[in-house]
Subunit: 404 residues, 2 copies
């Protein structure tokens, strides 16, 4: 369970008892009902029409309301929670987080997944395509990405059914239909778009904060054997589309101010639409696996600070061909990996293509992927104000057996 700092003020949607889901924020170990605050007039003047914006089962209207509304709500919430005189008025809308269940906070419009970690991309090339160049031709020129399935983005806590699919059996050479043998995770940093853009135009890197509400933690579950069989020439499809899990709470961009870092020096100057490069983010991840019969182990600690492409560049690239944005678009970094073994953000890398042991529940084991019953949790945290820390929350999911 995440303990939220007093200045993060994440946006989420929770269900409590039999009541309809409603927008909320989180402070410490508590959750605050934003629909209730709006109805009681506590958000008047903070953003236009607080009730129409927040007394709803999702954040869709709030996301589309834009940066002034996001900032206005944030400022009001910081004031209300810091003011002892407001405690009584807040109290009826304050619940222990154990009393509520988060749901998917917004309607995901399009989901784009990038491939922006140099260490991940080169690890994958070395493991899977040892005869190819260390990186694809275009990799250092642009943020390579692809569209994933928006309809199977699920909230943290959703069980992941082991997918079945076609793959070539390496022993017999035959194509077989079977549950995946190489179910994997990918540690990713996701960004949620609030304000759309017009078809035929490009969003400059400098306009990032005009469009992006905040960040989520993403687990881009992957079935490596299905992906390997299907991906030429059109890329990943069923190997990814069965589930992509996101953390329940969107951490506002404004809460990540102290996490901003210059991105690594690139080997070549950026193309026109990728300059200025914008901010990198020092966001540290923990990838934790709890096998069905054992306790949890953190198996990797990668950091987003090392990513080759900044989220500003990813957003600009996504629109550089004139593609429009819509409120609710989600884009993610691709697997975050670092240069050392302890910074590898996927099991494919951690086991170096299923050939090396990982330590789980106190013992070194050989794994060719996740087992049924394994629970995977990814947590993230960033530098915050005054030397403190801003939690980004966590995304968790348990693997359950294939259905047929």
């Amino acid at each position: 369970m995440t303990h939220w700092s007093a200045t993060t003020m994440p946006y989420g949607v929770v269900r409590s008892g039999g009541r309809a889901p409603r927008p909320a924020t989180a402070v410490g170990d508590d959750v605050i009902d934003l629909a209730g605050l709006a109805r009681d007039g506590l958000l008047d003047g903070a953003l236009p029409d607080p009730t129409a914006t927040l007394d709803r089962p999702d954040l869709d209207t709030f996301l589309a309301a834009g940066p002034d509304a996001w900032h206005g709500l944030r400022v009001r919430l910081l004031e209300l929670t810091a003011d002892p005189a407001a405690a009584d008025r807040l109290a009826p809308h304050r619940w222990a987080s154990s009393e509520v269940a988060p749901v998917l906070a917004w309607s995901v419009a399009d989901y784009v997944d990038f491939y922006s970690s140099r260490d991940h991309a080169s690890n994958v090339s070395r493991i899977l395509r040892p005869d190819d160049p260390a990186l694809p031709d275009a990799w250092d020129h642009l943020p390579i990405g692809y569209h994933g399935r928006a309809g199977t983005v699920v909230v943290s806590g959703t069980d992941v059914v082991r997918p079945t699919g076609l793959r070539r059996d390496l022993d017999s050479g035959e194509v077989v239909s079977a549950p995946t043998q190489h179910l994997d995770v990918e540690v990713e940093l996701g960004w949620v778009v609030g304000v759309g853009s017009e078809l035929g135009t490009t969003v400059p890197t400098s306009a990032f904060a005009d469009h992006v509400v905040g960040a989520v933690v993403v687990n881009d579950w992957s079935a490596r054997d299905l992906q390997a069989f299907e991906y030429r020439p059109l890329g990943p499809f069923l190997g990814k589309s069965f589930a992509t899990s996101v953390s329940p709470w969107i951490v506002p961009l404004e809460a990540l101010t102290d996490a901003r870092v210059p991105p690594p020096t690139p080997p070549r100057p950026p193309a026109h639409h990728l300059a200025p490069v914008g901010d990198g983010y020092r966001i540290g991840f923990e990838l934790e696996i709890a096998p069905h019969d054992g306790g949890p182990t953190v198996v990797a600690r990668p950091d987003a600070a090392g990513l080759r492409w900044t989220p500003s560049q990813q957003l600009s690239h996504l629109t550089s061909n004139g593609a429009s944005l819509r409120p609710g678009d989600l884009f993610a970094s691709g697997t975050v990996s670092g240069p050392t073994r302890g910074e590898r953000g996927s099991l494919l890398e951690l086991t170096w293509g299923w050939t090396e042991d990982v330590v789980l529940a106190g013992g070194a084991v050989r794994r060719d992927g996740l087992a049924d019953g394994d629970t995977v949790t990814i947590r993230a945290a960033a530098p915050g104000p005054d030397g403190g820390t801003v939690a980004l929350g966590e995304v968790t999911g348990r693997v359950v057996a294939a259905r047929r």
Copy 2:
């Protein structure tokens, strides 16, 4: 302009004058306002709650209402339009199609594009990857596909801005940012999902008609040079995502009964989830190009009857890993090409990699793609009842110059 047979009864959404868009059907050269029919009680009993379902600015609620509602509306419309006694009651809701402008009829949830024409896939391999096998390893085992950008699916008539992007200049070897030099079209058959499915389950091929409302004509615009530079290893991204045009009217599956044909005999038995194979569809396309300075020429006439994978198989494959469907999902065939030169559904193929002439406006010309000012129109028609024809309408779009 499409002339609609008396038995097609397509579903669309039109705007007339300053009024809000509303659902409609089309008969002959007329359009009938379904919201108006619902308000006047003419659809009572045909489907549950006709007003809530159809007095809206889109077809979303109707699509999700399911096969009984689709059938019920269809039967009622066939009765009303065939009954001379109903003519007076219909008259206030009947407009000449020249009086209305179609808009995008539904909210596209996820967009998946397949690659199901053997002739197209092998042509592309021979043109672009002559050293590779004629078809990707997986091609005859499963319908290869990928996710496209749902947010840039646009209705017929929308201008297409020439996209700018990075590509490797073949003369200098340098990577340059420039408007695409190889803007192309793809003739495709699209299917619209009305009824969703549960995460973790597979839709059997036999359940196609329980989920799919009907068909649209698709032009999957492609920037071949951008695509060639970016597509390894994650597939097409910006080379496709700038625009995908769809015809305004969804032709009901029930109107395509006489178009059903057995698909070509496959070279191997289908995998479990791809059997029974379901129906192919004899749907003939015309690809017409009108250059900015000349009249229109039909440059290709491919037919969907030759596709390797049926839409039932595509739908089942899409969900075979447990991925859920949502109302509004769109999936398309991939470029429809046939074995002869006159059946090639893209300019890349028609010019055999920009090396052969095409005949446009009466003269043979060498083209390396679409020029600014070119208008592309794709029409489709299928066998109908009593030896007649069912039009599927058309999708058109004009290329306009790059914006920077």
